[in-house]
């Protein structure tokens, strides 16, 4: 049994996680990523229980037990740094359990009360765009996975900062002195949470615009109109399959594209691209 200071309770959306570990570095990482602390006496129903014991050997099997009997296994040898694994597996649990919500592969930022949902895979340049907007003063709500609060038109603050990571050969910098089997080209990354972020995991913001990110050849960045049918198709392509989809998410996303400004953004130079987006959003204020 780990002493009390080796336990940490954190909150992700409506869920409470408990970490028990003898690995101080791992605990510090968890505190940094899952910065919203939960009060265990007020939250007796722990949704995730993560037990990590790294003291014996690197190949020890660790488990993450999720709610509804879901059990996830981490093998240290595959995860020299456990934090990305925890992040990944926590996301998996959330995807399965956040049934009243709609999960989209994308990012979410807000500017002067206008919420912008950026939809697209990381290869489209979306993470860079989220980061660039955040660096220009937009409020960061999350990237990688956006949780939409059905049936409202709101996005949760969900800073799974996959996108805001910095390349990190750097496991040695990330976890000083830690040995790793990992190919330096495939190491994990720093998690960088900007200061101008939403303040709690439960904070929500209305969605006003949806931008579909893409990278195409051309002279410069451009914003192009996208039909609502195409917008719905793209949203569905980027929605996580939560296993029980009976068409509710489809109907919800259709409603979302009917009520929001949808456009495609071809990213070409972050400064110019963000200028265009800011101009479009500002025009709607």
């Amino acid at each position: 049994m780990a002493p009390p200071d080796r336990r940490y309770y954190f909150r992700v959306s409506d869920f409470v996680g408990e970490v028990i570990t003898d690995d101080e570095g791992f605990l510090a990482d968890v505190r940094r990523l899952y910065y919203e602390q939960a009060e265990p006496t007020l939250n007796p129903h722990v949704s995730f229980r993560i037990s990590v014991d790294r003291s014996l050997n690197l190949n020890k099997i660790h488990t993450i037990k999720g709610i509804r009997g879901l059990e996830l296994t981490l093998i240290t040898a595959f995860y020299p740094s456990l934090l990305p694994a925890l992040d990944h597996h926590t996301n998996r649990v959330l995807i399965k359990t956040l049934q009243p919500y709609c999960l989209i592969q994308g990012g979410f930022t807000a500017f002067q009360g206008k919420g912008l949902l950026l939809v697209g895979g990381p290869e489209t340049g979306r993470p860079l765009l989220v980061r660039a907007l955040t660096e220009r003063g937009w409020t960061y709500y999350g990237d990688g996975m956006v949780i939409l609060n059905m049936p409202g038109r709101e996005a949760f603050h969900f800073p799974k900062s996959i996108a805001l990571q910095r390349p990190a050969n750097p496991l040695t910098r990330f976890r000083e002195g830690e040995k790793t089997f990992r190919d330096p080209e495939r190491t994990s990354a720093f998690y960088v949470l900007p200061d101008n972020r939403a303040q709690t995991w439960r904070e929500v913001h209305p969605v006003h615009s949806i931008a579909f990110t893409s990278r195409q050849d051309g002279d410069g960045p451009e914003l192009k109109a996208v039909s609502r049918a195409d917008a719905l198709l793209r949203l569905m392509e980027n929605a996580y399959d939560q296993g029980d989809d009976d068409g509710l998410r489809f109907a919800y996303l259709a409603g979302l594209v009917r009520e929001t400004d949808c456009f495609r953004v071809n990213i070409k130079g972050l400064k110019k691209t963000t200028d265009l987006i800011i101009g479009r959003i500002a025009a709607s204020i």
Binding site: R228, L233, D246, G247, A254
Partner: protein
Amino acid sequence: MAFDKGTELMDRLPLISERMAYQEFDGEIVLFDKKGKKTFKLNRVASLIFFFCDGSHSASEILKELIRVFPKDNPSVLSADLRQTLEHFEKEGIVR
């Protein structure tokens, strides 16, 4: 044989499968297959065909409607479009 198959197709009364959810935007249909978890977007002609797949219109009757709605289009081209669309609908389980 292809002709026979096509003739048979044109005599059917296609009906949208219950597993399909759909949304219409300015004449374009987006379909979601609740069972297959696939999403489709139909063009305007296919969207019109989709709306007539109500179990009471045969393919031949749908063709007449297409010719009425698109009077400038070549009827043989519309017929080929219809046949191709219905075959696609059947293959994807959009109609039964």
